[in-house]
């Protein structure tokens, strides 16, 4: 009896334990105190703008500037040698940024933040453009499907569909323009235009122009381009440039500033671009590069400054790898004076727009005065870099333009040459432009680098002097999205650097 009584008491005690645990509601315990379940769209826009831009700057530095031979790598020079592995960071980091932009678009739509919705679409278009131009067919309409569904294997869309399809980026940019034009709202969380929706409209139009020029080898883009030139808001000056003005401290400074000197020094001025700069005595050299012989900022532009260029290509095969370091705006050297102008992250600039228009006119795609836009483009670039024309021996920009040889006989190749120089650090655009120029210089039948006069065949190159036409899909896709990957690779004829994407078929 005693035993029974005791057991009952004990069981009560146990129940008490169980009850206590019920008070501590498990659902509350397992609610994350550090991370909210809902956020407004602007905080995602801010984050994704920074992360996508940081990634683009790094890829400009490591890939695009070197492939296009504005700069050259002094070590890890597989890029310059045309011996490419998968450059998976571009893919991975941009799809991660897209996740936030797609989410931001959805949240903005639900909350009637029309301007945010529009800006999110513009940024998505810029990134999808970059990805399809690099890789070819990519997950597009089904991309980011894992955010709100259980589809973790998004199907690929063709490059044609991504660029030019019914819901391709041209159509999406139109959608964004119409959203941005129908609202009085500011874009919130905006690191590019500080909220100005009409500047976003301009950027959307410039991105359309850029895309159409690339499409011009595939279809007649005259009407589309002319329509934009005639009827749409475009950049009017450097004030409209789509740039991210970085802050002066980590982690919001220009992404090259945190680098170790050895890693920064691993990229130097290229022999190819140096020849062009010196040919015209172009004052932008003092902005792009740091002289070999002086550390004083004042003398970057002085006649005593000595600049050298390295050969693009192998770091070992007897190639010259000595070249001037990049300019003061890209890095603070310990013990050297700090530049008062720091580099920005660039999506597109007025200069690029003007040179796109100049080229289109020169080719007869649209009508107009090619040279006027050519001149605008060069001048805008000089203004953007705030160059000191005087120290390069010019009395003014006009003096430079008229007497350096830049304006003599403005051919398509000259426009290309200036656009090549002007798109330095414009994301991956230097590569896409150079690739298209090489293609056209080879009469659309190959990518022999020597066809373009201002480029050099890389020293000890491993691809017969042929510029690779695409980045390899990352292993991530091959192993995790294999069914769709295989369809894309089959269409391409192999996941190789020389497999021709639709744009060059």
């Amino acid at each position: 009896m005693k035993f029974m009584k005791f057991t009952i008491k004990t069981i009560f005690a146990c129940i008490l334990i169980a009850n206590l645990s019920c008070d501590d509601n498990f659902e509350n315990v397992n609610t994350n105190p550090n991370q909210p379940e809902d956020v407004p769209s602007e905080v995602l826009i801010t984050n994704a703008t920074r992360s996508s831009m940081n990634s683009m700057v790094n890829e400009s530095f490591l890939l695009a500037n070197n492939i296009s031979q504005i700069t050259a790598k002094t070590l890890r020079s597989e890029v310059d040698e045309y011996n490419w592995n998968a450059f998976s960071t571009l893919w991975l980091e941009q799809y991660i940024a897209l996740t936030d932009f797609v989410d931001a678009e959805n949240i903005a739509r639900d909350n009637e933040q029309t301007a945010n919705q529009g800006a999110s679409i513009v940024m998505q278009s810029w990134i999808f453009y970059t990805l399809t131009m690099a890789y070819g067919d990519i997950p597009y309409t089904e991309a980011i499907s894992g955010l709100n569904s259980d589809n973790f294997t998004p199907a690929y869309d063709t490059q044609q569909a991504v660029l030019d399809g019914e819901s391709g980026i041209l159509a999406r940019l139109d959608e964004a323009i119409s959203l941005l034009q129908q609202t009085n709202q500011d874009v919130e969380g905006d690191l590019i235009y500080d909220g100005n929706a009409s500047q976003w409209v301009k950027l959307a139009n410039v991105l359309k122009l850029r895309t159409l020029l690339h499409l011009s080898n595939k279809r007649d883009v005259s009407a589309d381009m002319q329509n934009i030139i005639n009827n749409s808001m475009l950049f009017e000056s450097n004030a409209d440039n789509a740039v991210l003005t970085y802050l002066n401290s980590f982690p919001n400074d220009f992404p090259l500033f945190p680098l170790k000197q050895g890693d920064f020094d691993a990229v130097v001025m290229s022999e190819s671009s140096l020849a062009t700069f010196e040919n015209y005595n172009d004052p932008r050299l003092g902005a792009y590069a740091r002289p070999d012989n002086v550390t004083d900022l004042q003398t970057f532009d002085s006649p005593e400054a000595v600049y050298t260029g390295a050969e693009n290509g192998s770091e070992t095969g007897g190639c010259n790898k000595g070249g001037s370091r990049l300019g003061a705006r890209y890095y603070d050297y310990p013990g050297h004076p700090v530049g008062n102008v720091r580099a920005n992250g660039i999506i597109s600039t007025y200069s690029e727009q003007e040179l796109i228009i100049a080229e289109a006119i020169q080719k007869g795609i649209i009508s107009g005065n090619a040279e006027a836009h050519y001149r605008n483009g060069i001048e805008a670039s000089m203004v953007y870099y705030d160059v000191d024309v005087a120290s390069f021996g010019w009395s003014s920009f006009d003096d430079f333009y008229d007497n350096s040889g830049v304006s003599d006989n403005v051919t398509l190749e000259k426009i290309w040459e200036q656009k090549w120089i002007a798109t330095f650090f414009h994301g991956i655009e230097p590569y896409y432009d150079i690739r298209r120029m090489v293609y056209e210089a080879n009469n659309q039948s190959g990518f022999d680098v020597s066809a373009l006069s201002f480029l050099n065949v890389p020293c000890a190159n491993q691809n017969d002097g042929v510029m690779p036409v695409r980045f390899l899909y990352p292993g991530d896709e091959e192993s995790l999205n294999s069914e769709n990957y295989n369809i894309a690779v089959e269409a391409l004829g192999g996941n190789t650097q020389n497999a021709t994407p639709w744009l060059f078929e």
């Binding site: 005791f6 057991t7 004990t10 146990c14 334990i17 169980a18 645990s21 501590d24 498990f26 315990v29 397992n30 609610t31 550090n34 991370q35 909210p36 379940e37 602007e42 905080v43 995602l44 801010t46 984050n47 920074r50 490591l62 890939l63 890890r76 597989e78 592995n85 998968a86 450059f87 799809y95 991660i96 996740t99 936030d100 797609v102 990519i138 991309a143 894992g146 955010l147 973790f152 294997t153 998004p154 802050l247 980590f250 982690p251 919001n252 170790k260 000197q261 020094d265 070999d292 000595v306 770091e315 070992t316 790898k321 000595g322 310990p334 292993g475 991530d476 192993s479 995790l480 999205n481």
Partner: protein, 1090 residues
């Protein structure tokens, strides 16, 4: 430290003298000896302790004795066949009632789950234990390392990661796709955390600084025993976390000793030296392709068409034959270029580990207590690094109301602090070892002791080159990682015996950790953003509180044939953690380390986590006639980390033990004891908090703009608990009067429904998805052989072999995994375009495969070359599993009169290890590579050598020496099968061989058979003669020479293969990522008891 030693010494001496001054008259004592049921024991021996020849008597028919004792006699020892001996203090007391407990040598009592003491013979599962002597004989800073070689089936890997180095402890091998299969640590029945607590890894990413797993702080001098509960059957009562086995630590208490006062003093001082060194070359110095001439220290190769290579950062430069070359610190003058051969030894210190413990205990009828204080000082071999640890321990027990209520409190207060925890690996800003990879062979390390440039103290470091590496003294002396930890581990127990059978026990246990860490990086440190220097502070608090209630209904009356023990209990576990991490990424004033000295916003992260698990469990133990034992357990857990509808999981276990020797007549056989056992168990397991719903991850502000990001994983609202099902059988046989003991276990374990982050294509917007999937089967044996070939009065030899063999096979992987599941997708973060080396799981293969690119080979396995360069595969290949086939320990103990000598060999058989350090050292031309079993090619062969002169402009002019620069011909064939005869520059060959230049993505080149043998421990002890002790009022004095890790035998070049990497708070086995060198220790120990 020295002061403290002195203080404790004085204290001891004081006590020593004060004790020895006690004295008493000659007198007669008397007493009565009874068994556990108060039945008198006639013929029991009563001997006065420490008398020679023994003086004593035996009890009469009624169990009574009388004995005349002298003034200096302190204790009597009472023995009776089949009963445990008892030692009793006779100081100040003349009448004794002595109760003996049944038991003999066969009935070793072992602490099992929930602190239940059991006869070892009654257990149906494998348990092995270490006694206090084994735990504390030779001191280590991390207690887990004492299990090495001593327990079959326990795989303990230590590493050279400084004084706080973690020990990677797995029991019966890795069973998880997440890579985490660490054993649960339990102190006095209550779990403690063994977490790594490595938020955000190192200061600026890269390698994890090893602040050590948390269980290491438990002080060896306070440990009475460690029981290792190997399988789930043994551990099932501990629930979720016990699936990987339990290390059960029981602390000392006053009642362990006989009645009266006891005191103990342990002091140990050992020196630490390098155990393994890279095979450095002393022929060629800094530079590349034979070129080197110092200009400014920042020219990687050439400037203005002149080859300087003064920041090439590798040792492919000129021959160090004394020719005149402009060098760092030569003020532009050409000076002799000669090797600095002893740099490595000159840099590392002789370390010292000092441990000093004083314990006082008392046992009386009224209760018992034990107080202990331990001071540990570990000066590491890395300059300016080490730790001190102060441990206070108290255990107080009291019995009340006619012994019906028993209460006990155990409390540890452990304070650890360190001036610097050194880092290894590839952390450029903070790893000493990173610097050694590239360190110029011609620069004497002592010349760099002045770390700052003249007039720029604290602002600009002084080093041989400006592009890559930091001055090693700057890293050691300025870039420090300090920490201070305060830990409280304690519990309070109250039990109430209602009657003979029914009792209740309530217990409350706390484990509170409060730790601060400070990370300093001096201004001008390379690889710190902008080289402004940086400072970070972490405040880590963690607590785990367990409340437990158990009701027992027990009848263990040995008069009856049927005995039983029923228990029913509940436990509530609450874990809270709060990590506050503030980073000042760019200092404003140089080298001033505060959070407010910032040029950028201070980045703050403050992850908090909470987890509750409620449990109800039941336990039944039945025995029949002392030869059949049946145990059953059941437990149900409710975890807050799982979905509401799915958060309850039940799991049972059964075990059976039969003592066949009790039933068979063995009197004429060689057998003394035969036991057969079998067990089956299931254990469920939960996961980490906050994985069920979608949330947004806060990011640093951009100016005034807040930023949040989507998490990279897709949460799973339908998560289920993991399951581990295990089966084991074993036998314990003893022969020749227990001179030979043999214990064998076979087990088979299946882990299923594992909670893993399944990789997903990033293009889907998620990089991983949380799922239940995967099955891993582990199978293995454990074998212990204990032989005592000789045992006489003066001489004895005992030899013990511990063997554990284990194989874990991946039976199934989640749907959607193609060829491999990445346990760690990216062991070494690579450059753009490189193919990462991975640790993966592959269906049908051993768990934990090393994966990366491999060599293209012909049918005979020869490496295919093209233009003299070895060719690599396009696709990744497997280079084998890190899993060793077996771990084998061999302990020998010899005793001759007052001397004893013991040594322990520990070894690993099988398994692979990839040595990143070796690949880097070889490609840097820093080592000879002559000890590499994979590649029979020295880095000294075929190099180009130049005579170097200077032109009028002071620029170097190189002329090739005749007969040099012929290059090397790699062993292998061409694509057409003909032998490779093409010579290439040695640097180019080594870079291609280890994997596509700087990518280093060839797994095969630097993967080695990881077999090793270590002389783990040696100890030579001398016990002072008992007469001497007696005369000085001491119980015993033992003086020992001790050593650990004195010898390493292995084919693995450059590194100690007993190591692991840490990524994201998880141990990564099979990859040595350039760890700090391992050490051997040797020194003196003194143990005094009074």
């Amino acid at each position: 430290m020295k002061q403290l030693n002195l203080t404790s010494l004085t204290f001891i001496l004081f006590l020593l003298f004060s004790v020895s001054t006690f004295s008493q008259e000659k007198r007669t004592i008397s007493g009565n000896v009874v068994d556990e049921k108060n039945i008198p024991l006639p013929g029991a021996n009563v001997i006065i302790k420490n008398t020679n020849p023994p003086r004593g008597t035996t009890t009469d028919f009624d169990g009574n004795f009388t004995l005349e004792v002298e003034a200096e006699d302190k204790k009597i020892v009472v023995t009776y066949l089949g009963y445990q001996k008892k030692t009793i203090s006779i100081v100040g007391k003349d009448e004794f009632k002595v109760q003996l407990q049944p038991g003999n040598q066969l009935d070793e009592v072992i602490v099992t789950a929930l602190d239940i003491k059991r006869d070892e013979k009654s257990l149906g599962y494998a348990v092995q234990s270490l006694d206090s002597k084994e735990v504390s004989d030779v001191k280590v800073t991390n207690i887990s390392n004492k299990l090495q070689g001593k327990v079959a089936g326990v795989f303990v890997n230590s590493s050279g990661n400084g004084p706080t180095a973690s020990a990677n402890v797995t029991i019966r091998g890795q069973t998880s796709l997440t890579g985490n299969s660490q054993a649960l640590y339990v102190v006095n029945g209550i779990p403690i955390t063994n977490g790594l607590f490595s938020p955000g890894d190192g200061l600026n990413g890269s390698t994890t600084i090893d602040f050590g797993n948390s269980s290491q702080v438990v002080n060896p001098d306070d440990i009475q025993s460690i029981s290792v509960l190997k399988g789930p059957a043994a551990a099932a009562l501990y629930g979720s976390r016990a699936a990987n086995g339990v290390i059960l630590i029981t602390t000392k208490r006053g009642s362990d000793k006989e009645e009266g006062w006891d005191m103990e003093w342990n002091v140990q001082t050992v020196a630490k030296e390098l155990l393994r060194k890279p095979n450095f070359q002393n022929t060629y110095g800094h530079g590349g392709y034979g070129f080197y001439s110092y200009l400014s220290g920042d020219i990687y190769t050439a400037s203005g068409g002149v080859n300087y290579y003064d920041a090439f950062g590798e040792n492919w430069g000129p021959r160090m034959d004394g020719q005149l070359i402009k060098q760092f610190d030569s003020n532009g003058e050409p000076v002799p270029f000669t090797p600095a051969e002893d740099n490595y030894d000159n840099f590392f210190d002789t370390g010292f580990l000092v441990s000093n413990n004083v314990a006082v205990s008392n046992n009386s009828e009224n209760g018992d207590f034990r107080l202990s204080y331990t001071y540990l000082d570990d000066n590491d071999i890395v300059p300016n690094s080490g730790l001190t640890r102060n441990t206070l321990f108290a255990s107080i027990g009291k019995e009340l109301f006619d012994d019906k209520i028993k209460a006990r409190v155990n409390l540890f207060n452990i304070r650890t602090s360190s001036d610097n925890i050194p880092n290894g690996g590839y952390d450029e800003s903070n790893s000493i070892m990173y610097g050694w990879l590239w360190y110029p062979r011609q620069v004497p390390i002592d010349d760099l002791r002045q770390v700052w440039r003249d007039g720029q103290v604290g602002e600009q470091q002084r080093y041989v080159e400006e592009l890559w590496v930091n001055n090693p003294w700057l890293v050691a002396n300025e870039n420090t990682n300090t920490h201070q930890e305060s830990r409280i581990i304690g519990n309070a127990t109250v039990s109430y015996d209602y009657n003979d059978k029914l009792s209740v026990r309530a217990r409350y246990g706390v484990d509170i950790k409060d730790e601060q860490r400070q990370f300093r990086r001096a201004t001008s440190t390379k690889a710190i953003p902008g080289q402004f220097g940086s400072y970070r502070e972490d405040e880590i608090t963690f607590s785990e509180i367990n409340t437990e209630l158990i009701v027992s209904y027990t009848d263990m009356d040995r008069e009856k044939k049927f005995n039983y023990d029923f228990k029913l209990g509940g436990n509530m576990m609450k874990q809270r953690s709060n990590i506050l991490s503030a980073s000042n990424n760019q200092l404003l004033l140089p080298s001033l380390y505060t959070l407010t000295n910032n040029r950028a916003e201070v980045q703050v992260e403050n992850p908090q986590a909470e987890k509750n698990v409620n449990s109800v469990f039941a336990f039944a133990s039945l025995s029949w006639d002392d030869w059949i034992y049946l145990d059953a357990t059941a437990r149900n857990d409710w975890s807050s980390t799982l979905p509401q509808d799915n958060n309850s999981y039940f799991y049972p276990s059964f075990s059976l033990s039969t003592i066949l020797s009790e039933q068979l007549d063995l009197s004429n056989s060689i057998f003394d004891f035969i036991k057969v056992r079998a067990a089956w168990a299931q254990v469920g397991s939960d996961t980490n908090p906050y994985l069920l719903s979608r949330t947004y991850n806060p990011q640093p502000l951009f100016g005034d703009n807040a930023a949040f990001a989507n998490n990279s994983f897709a949460p799973n609202p339908d998560l289920k608990p993991e399951r581990t099902t295990s089966f084991e059988i074993g036998t314990d046989i003893r022969f020749f009067e227990n001179k030979l003991k043999f214990d064998f276990t076979y087990y088979n374990m299946l882990s299923s429904d594992q909670i893993i982050f399944l990789p997903r294509a990033t293009s889907s917007g998620k990089q991983t998805q949380l799922v239940n999937a995967g099955e891993i089967r582990s199978e293995g044996i454990e074998l212990q052989i204990d032989v005592t070939p000789i045992e006489t009065e003066d001489f004895a030899w005992n030899s013990v072999i511990n063997l554990g063999a284990n194989e874990a096979i991946v039976e199934s992987l989640p749907d959607g995994v193609q060829d491999s599941y990445p346990i760690v997708a990216d062991v070494f973060p690579g450059d753009e375009g490189s193919r990462n080396l991975e640790l993966v799981a592959v269906e049908g293969e051993k768990l934990g495969q090393l994966r990366g690119l491999g060599f293209q080979r012909d049918a005979n396995g020869n490496i295919i070359h093209e233009n003299g360069i070895p060719q690599l595969t396009d696709e990744k290949v497997l280079a084998g599993s890190y899993q060793p086939d077996a771990r084998l320990g061999w302990q020998n103990t010899f005793r001759y009169k007052n001397f004893s000598f013991g040594f322990l060999f520990d070894s690993q058989i099988g398994g692979k290890i990839y040595s990143r350090g070796h690949a880097l050292f070889a490609t840097a031309g820093t080592i000879t590579n002559e000890d590499d079993p994979n590649l029979n090619l020295s880095t000294l062969e075929g190099r180009a050598e130049y005579n170097i002169s200077y032109n009028t402009a002071g620029e170097p002019v190189y002329s090739l020496r005749q007969g040099t620069g012929q290059g090397v011909v790699g062993p292998g064939v061409n694509a057409d099968g003909s032998p490779n005869t093409t010579a290439v520059a040695p640097r180019d060959y080594f870079y291609a061989y280890y994997g596509n230049g700087f990518n280093r993505d060839n797994i095969e080149a630097a993967t080695y058979d990881a077999d090793w043998i270590k002389l783990r421990q040696v100890m030579l002890s001398y016990n002072l003669p008992s007469e001497f002790c007696e005369n000085h009022g001491l119980d015993s004095v033992q003086l020992s020479l001790v050593g650990r890790n004195l010898l390493l035998i292995t084919d693995v070049p450059t590194v100690d293969p007993e190591t692991f990497s840490i990524r994201g708070g998880t141990f990564v086995n099979g990859f040595a990522s350039n760890p700090l060198p391992s050490t051997s220790t040797f020194g003196l120990a003194l143990n005094v008891k009074l």
